[in-house]
Subunit: 372 residues, 2 copies
């Protein structure tokens, strides 16, 4: 594999030791090395659990806040300052690429993303505008501001995976069973493939903009992938997730930007998620990490890769279960994850909105207190 | 195992050949025999997909309709008449035992079950009223009316499993992640066990009333069990599901009432669901039945049972995918299920509300056309 073509001054390649993220705990663990401390960050660490976030967001809609570079940057930085986590996760939303492409969408409080019109026919898909380079400038600017502040702490780029993005587009809103997209992939496979290809281009483009602007890693969130059988995932989804990853593959590789792939309820599809082109796999709270490692090892991909670094998987339900219970659980997760060739501590799903943030800070302190 | 003590005149033991359900396709398949046709029914077959149901329900709330014996019976019978399915499923709701115990609860349209007050503390649990024999009379009456009409077609009794019922009680409403009950089982295990024990008594009592009144099988619905890790299921849930089943164990056994255990997203816990005391396991649409069979066989319970009859698992998303796609899928499910010691065709989740009922009728015809 050739060295990745990261832009000049990118945090992963700069010679400035005070700024480089290459030796950070996160990047070291994601490359399978031994970090100087156990890296930890939390999905949804930037957001509703922080009073400073709720204050900053007052009077500003969710999607608007993602597109104001200073605001998105500040929100991204808040949990890094507060918790001493080992990475920032770029503050954004899965449907931001839709908004940037001028597809009508908004986040309705208490509901989630709602589209002006669902995307259900071949004509609907053909009419979708492509995401332009120019539209991504607020994203790049927010990333530049953020990495300048973060210094040697890496920023993780954020993008929704094609299935999850397309699921919102077909349903027009959140749903429990994702019947619309799951019907479409069987009933109208050409329409589905056109839509999922659009979503893969949008996701990959969105992620690439963040990495080029200075993100040191990337994570593809396939929130709803657990609603699929392995067969449906392999046939109708994995190729599109692979297409999204392929758009940043030249920036990845052993010396480049690590790519994490996460979904919930994915115990049946973890090897398939790895094989979409991920350097590391995020595991939800339901499957112990040693069992995830065993399955990945037992099912190598066509490229021969079996075990990969894992991310996860503290149960968010235990954040409110009292410290003794939580500490024992976190220590159990550390032990189970130690069998993997690299382990980034995280939750096995996002931070619940009502979480006491002081508990998260204490979890970080605990994790950092356990020698790597 | 001793012969079950079914009440005199129960459809499974009556000598009247025109009324007995013992030789029905459903009971035969659930006992591991070869039925004269492949049995099929659909979860939520009684309900919103049928125009005759929507007409009957006009002006009557969901829970009220469950408690008017003539109405509940008629709703239960509608899909049997229309589709020629091999069983009725008793029309009810998971929270009916709460209503019967005079716990304040209602079904809010578009939301689901909402309790007047969530059940979150030891005092809340201690204050729960027990379900009485008398309160169950409308249920018994509806079952008696139904089995009299069904004749040799068996009625399946319905009950929510303790975890799913308790999850509604702790959250006070439907939730996606069930954080409340999942926190409680770790933070306050005594409170959790008291609550889940209450729910197990209510579920078991509710199911027993239906069987005593003439239901020929029973199904425990653990809709949310897939939100649990195997470890949490085994420690905090399985004992309570076993307690619910234990309340009807004397009516079950090889010559008695078969007991089916169903949940969604349960690929990791299928053997544990069997071992709670089920005769058969329902599998959701995500796991192929031959793989479910392989896992059950590979992981026998303490009683030595490995493979058991399976129920499932047509993907509800394919009901709208066009007949050719659906027919191929149904034939695939039949083939995969043929490895099990018995197979009852069903969906891998409930009938979606907007399903065209003529498609369901055609699926039944297809299944009955394939020789067993």
């Amino acid at each position: 594999m050739t060295a990745p073509q990261l832009p000049a001054g990118h945090p992963l390649v700069t010679d400035d030791a005070t700024r480089s993220t290459a030796r950070s705990a996160l990047i070291t663990a994601l490359r399978g090395g031994t970090p100087d401390r156990r890296p930890v960050w939390f999905m949804r660490q930037a957001g509703r659990s922080l009073p400073e976030y709720r204050q900053l967001r007052e009077g500003i809609s969710m999607l608007d806040s993602c597109l104001q570079p200073e605001l998105a940057s500040e929100i991204t930085l808040q949990p890094v300052r507060r918790h001493d986590v080992d990475a920032g996760i770029f503050f954004s939303d899965i449907v931001i690429p839709l908004r940037l492409a001028e597809v009508g969408v908004d986040i309705v409080p208490g509901v989630g993303p709602v589209l002006d019109a669902p995307v259900r026919t071949a004509a609907d898909v053909a009419a979708l505008p492509e995401l332009t380079e120019e539209s991504l400038e607020p994203i790049r600017e927010a990333v530049r501001l953020t990495v300048a502040e973060l210094g040697s702490t890496p920023l993780i780029g954020f993008a929704g995976a094609p299935f999850t993005l397309a699921a919102y587009m077909v349903e027009g809103k959140p749903s429990r069973d994702h019947l619309g997209p799951r019907t479409m992939m069987h009933a109208e496979p050409d329409t589905w493939n056109a839509l999922a290809s659009w979503a893969a281009r949008a996701s990959g483009h969105f992620l690439r903009a963040q990495i080029e602007a200075g993100a040191s890693a990337g994570q593809l969130f396939d929130s709803w992938a657990g609603s699929l059988s392995l067969g449906d995932y392999l046939t109708h989804v994995q190729p599109h997730s692979a297409a999204a990853f392929a758009q940043v593959a030249d920036l990845a590789g052993p010396d480049g930007v690590p790519l994490i792939h996460f979904g919930t309820g994915t115990s049946e599809i973890l090897p398939a998620m790895r094989d979409a082109g991920a350097s590391a796999v995020g595991v939800d709270y339901r499957l112990p990490l040693d069992e995830a490692h065993r399955r990945l090892t037992a099912t190598p991909g066509a490229d021969g890769r079996g075990a990969v670094p894992l991310q996860g998987n503290i149960d968010p339900a235990l954040l409110e279960a009292g410290w003794d219970v939580l500490e024992a659980h976190v220590r159990g997760v550390i032990e189970a994850g130690s069998v993997a060739p690299g382990h980034v501590l995280n939750l096995g799903h996002g931070v619940p909105p009502h979480t006491d943030p002081t508990v998260l800070t204490r979890v970080v302190e605990l994790i950092h207190s356990v020698a790597p």
